[in-house]
C-alpha cells in the first residue's frame, strides 16, 4: 500500500492533475453560461453540456494520470531502481492501477458533485446528474488503463494517438454494431465483428439521456460489470507487457 500511497502523493502534488481538474471546473461554469442561450431548454442544455465537459475532462485526466504513473514508476529511467527491487513487476503495475483508479474516481466524483450542485441551483435533477457522472467514471478508467497498457510498450506519441482513436471508436461502437447488423460486408464482416468486440463499448457509460429526462432503460449493473471485466483484461495485458519490458530501450 505504501507504493500506492507514494504514487498518489506524486500525482496530487503534480501540477498537471490539478490543472486538469481546474479546467473541468471551468467547463462546468461554461455550461452555466451556455444554458442561458437555450431558450426553454436551459436545464437540459446545462446538464448535457456539463456532462459532456465532465466526460471529456475526466477522460483526459485518466489518460494523463496513466501516462504520468507509467513514465515515473513503471518504465522510465527513474523507474529502474524501483523495478530492480526484489518485488515482482506485477505488484508495481497493480499499484499503479490502484493509484489510477483512486485518482480518477476522486477527480470524477469531485467534478460530478460540482456539476450536480450547479444543476440543483437551476432546478435540474442533481441526483441523476451525479449518477450519470459516476457512471462516466467507468469510461475514464477504461481509457486510463488502455493508455497505461500502451505506454508500457510504445512511445508516448503513438500511445496518445491510439488512445484517442480508441476513445472515438468506443464512442461510435453503437454505430458500428448497427452497421454490422444492417450492412453486408462480405469477407470483411468477421474482421469488423472482431474489431467491434475488441473496441470498448463506451456508449454504455453515457447516461446523459437519463439526466436530461430522456427515455431509456438504465441498469447500473451493466456498465459496472462491463468496466470490471474489460478493466481486468487490460490490467492482465499491462502486467504481461511490463513483464516483457526492456529497460535498455530508452528511445521510447
Amino acid at each position: 500500500m505504501l507504493v500506492v500511497q507514494t504514487m498518489l502523493k506524486a500525482l496530487v502534488r503534480g501540477r498537471l492533475h490539478i490543472g486538469l481538474v481546474t479546467a473541468g471546473a471551468m467547463f462546468v461554469f461554461v455550461a452555466v453560461l451556455l444554458q442561458e442561450l437555450a431558450i426553454g431548454e436551459s436545464q437540459r442544455a446545462l446538464v448535457a453540456i456539463g456532462l459532456a465537459a465532465h466526460a471529456l475532462v475526466t477522460d483526459a485526466t485518466a489518460i494523463a494520470t496513466a501516462f504520468v504513473l507509467t513514465d515515473t514508476f513503471l518504465i522510465g529511467r527513474g523507474a529502474i531502481p524501483l523495478v530492480a527491487r526484489p518485488r515482482s513487476r506485477a505488484s508495481f503495475v497493480v499499484s499503479a492501477v490502484i493509484a489510477l483508479c483512486i485518482a480518477t474516481t476522486i477527480s470524477s466524483l469531485a467534478l460530478g458533485s460540482a456539476l450536480a450542485a450547479v444543476a440543483s441551483i437551476y432546478d435540474a435533477p442533481a441526483p441523476l446528474v451525479l449518477l450519470a457522472a459516476s457512471v462516466a467514471t467507468g469510461e475514464a478508467l477504461i481509457l486510463g488503463l488502455v493508455a497505461m497498457a500502451l505506454r508500457i510498450r510504445f512511445a508516448s506519441v503513438f500511445s496518445t494517438a491510439t488512445v484517442c482513436a480508441v476513445f472515438l471508436m468506443g464512442r461510435l461502437s453503437g454505430l458500428l454494431a448497427e452497421m454490422l447488423e444492417r450492412g453486408t460486408f462480405g469477407i470483411l464482416k468477421p474482421i469488423l465483428s472482431a474489431f467491434h468486440a475488441i473496441v470498448p463499448n463506451l456508449r454504455l457509460f453515457d447516461w446523459t439521456f437519463l439526466a436530461v429526462g430522456g427515455v431509456g432503460t438504465a441498469r447500473a449493473v451493466v456498465p459496472i460489470v462491463y468496466a470490471l471485466l474489460y478493466g481486468c483484461a487490460l490490467v492482465v495485458l499491462a502486467i504481461l507487457m511490463h513483464r516483457r519490458a526492456d529497460f535498455a530501450r530508452e528511445d521510447r
Binding site: L2, V3, T6, K9, A10, R13, G14, T72, F73, G76, R77, G78, I80, P81, L82, V83, A84, R85, P86, R87, S88, R89, A90, S91, I239, R243, R244, D246, F247, A248, R249, D251
Partner: protein, 338 residues
C-alpha cells in the same frame, strides 16, 4: 522475466537468502559472473538491429572494487541493467552469486545507483527512502542514518525537484545503500558531483568496501578507477577488451630512463639500453629497476664533467593504457571493415 510468485519476502527471509547467496558465492568465487552476453535493440523505423552487447564477459570476485571503463555507448549502463535483471539478453548467462538476476530474490542484496538520478520531482527524500525501505523490508531509521551520512538529512522534507544534480546523485547513492547490500552497482557515481561530493562518494565507496561489500562501478574519471579499484574491465562496442588488476594495467615496463650529458662513453652497470642521442654528448640510458639507476647515478656523480639532465619513470598511467587499448581496438575494427 520476473515471476509474480516470488514477491514479498520478510526481512528475516532476506537475511537467510543473502547468507545462502554468500555461501554460494564462496563456492564459485564470483559475486558477478556474466559470460558472452549478446544484446541487440531495434532502432529506426525499420527496426534495424543495433548491438549493445556483443559477447561481453565480466567476472567480479566477492569483496572487490571492480571498475568498468569504456567510451560512451560502450555498453556499461546496459551491462548494469542486465545485472539488475531489468534488461534481458538474447544470448549469454548472468549470475549473481550463482543465481539469475531475473529472479527478484537474487536482487535482494543488490544496491544500484543509476548514472542519472531521476526521482518523482514532487516527492521528498524521506518519502523516497521510506518507499525503498518498505520494498526491501528494512527498518525506517536505517534510511535516515544513510541520509545523514550523505549530508541530506536537513533536506529530507524538501521536494527533489529543487535539488541540484549533485544532491540528487547523493540521494541516489543513499537509496542504493539501503538494506546494506552485498553488491553495489554504481553507474558513474561521480558524474555531476563537485570536488567535495566526489570526495564524499570516494569515502563512502571505501567504507562500503571495508564493510565487505562487492562494488562494481563505471566511471569516465580514470583517476577514480585507478585510485579505488583493485581490478577493472575495459569494454568497447559491447565487447570486453581486457580485464585484470589495475596495477598490472598501469605498470608499463616499470623501469626508468636517464638522460645525461657526457663527452666520453661510460659503461653504466645494470643498464639494459644505452645509446647516444646526438653528437654533442647527450646519452639515454634505460634501467629495469631503481637499484640499477641508483648505481648509475652514483657513478655519474663521481665523474666531474657528467651532467645529469632528466630521470623519468616509465610507469604508464591508466589513461595512457586505456587510450592505447581503445585506439588499437578501433584500428582492428577499421581493418576488419575494409
Amino acid at each position: 522475466m520476473m515471476e509474480a510468485s516470488s514477491e514479498h519476502s520478510e526481512p528475516s527471509t532476506n537475511q537467510l537468502l543473502a547468507a545462502r547467496d554468500a555461501s554460494a558465492a564462496r563456492g564459485s568465487g564470483f559475486a558477478v559472473e556474466a559470460v558472452d552476453l549478446h544484446k541487440t535493440v531495434p532502432v529506426g523505423f525499420l527496426g534495424k538491429a543495433r548491438a549493445l552487447l556483443d559477447g561481453l564477459t565480466l567476472r567480479v570476485s566477492e569483496g572487490e572494487i571492480h571498475g568498468l571503463v569504456g567510451r560512451n555507448g560502450a555498453g556499461k549502463s546496459t551491462l548494469m541493467r542486465v545485472l539488475l535483471g531489468v534488461t534481458p539478453v538474447q544470448r549469454g548467462t548472468v549470475r549473481l552469486w550463482g543465481r539469475d538476476p531475473a529472479d527478484p530474490q537474487a536482487r535482494t542484496a543488490v544496491g544500484y545507483a543509476p548514472d542519472i538520478a531521476l526521482f518523482p520531482p514532487t516527492l521528498t527524500p524521506r518519502e523516497i527512502v521510506r518507499l525503498h525501505t518498505a520494498l526491501l523490508g528494512v527498518s525506517g531509521p536505517e534510511g535516515l542514518d544513510i541520509l545523514n551520512q550523505l549530508g541530506l538529512l536537513s533536506h529530507a522534507d524538501r521536494p527533489v525537484r529543487i535539488f541540484s544534480k549533485g544532491m540528487a546523485q547523493r540521494l541516489s547513492l543513499a537509496v542504493a545503500l539501503l538494506g546494506t547490500p552485498r553488491l553495489l552497482l554504481l553507474d558513474e557515481p561521480m558524474s555531476g558531483l563537485d570536488p567535495e561530493g566526489r570526495h564524499l562518494v570516494r569515502r563512502l565507496i571505501r567504507q562500503s568496501h571495508a564493510s565487505g561489500m562487492t562494488i562494481l562501478f563505471s566511471s569516465h574519471v580514470l583517476a577514480d578507477v585507478e585510485d579505488l579499484c583493485s581490478r577493472a574491465t575495459i569494454i568497447d562496442g559491447g565487447r570486453t577488451l581486457t580485464s585484470g588488476a589495475v596495477r598490472d594495467m598501469t605498470a608499463g615496463d616499470g623501469g626508468f630512463t636517464l638522460m645525461y650529458r657526457c663527452h666520453e662513453a661510460i659503461a653504466l652497470p645494470e643498464c639494459h639500453a644505452h645509446e647516444a642521442r646526438d653528437g654533442d654528448g647527450l646519452w639515454e640510458a634505460r634501467f629495469t629497476n631503481a637499484a640499477g639507476l641508483e648505481k648509475a647515478l652514483a657513478l655519474l656523480n663521481s665523474i666531474l664533467h657528467a651532467e645529469i639532465l632528466t630521470i623519468q619513470s616509465n610507469r604508464r598511467g591508466f589513461e595512457d593504457y586505456l587510450h592505447a587499448l581503445l585506439s588499437s581496438n578501433q584500428a582492428i575494427h577499421r581493418s576488419e571493415s575494409t
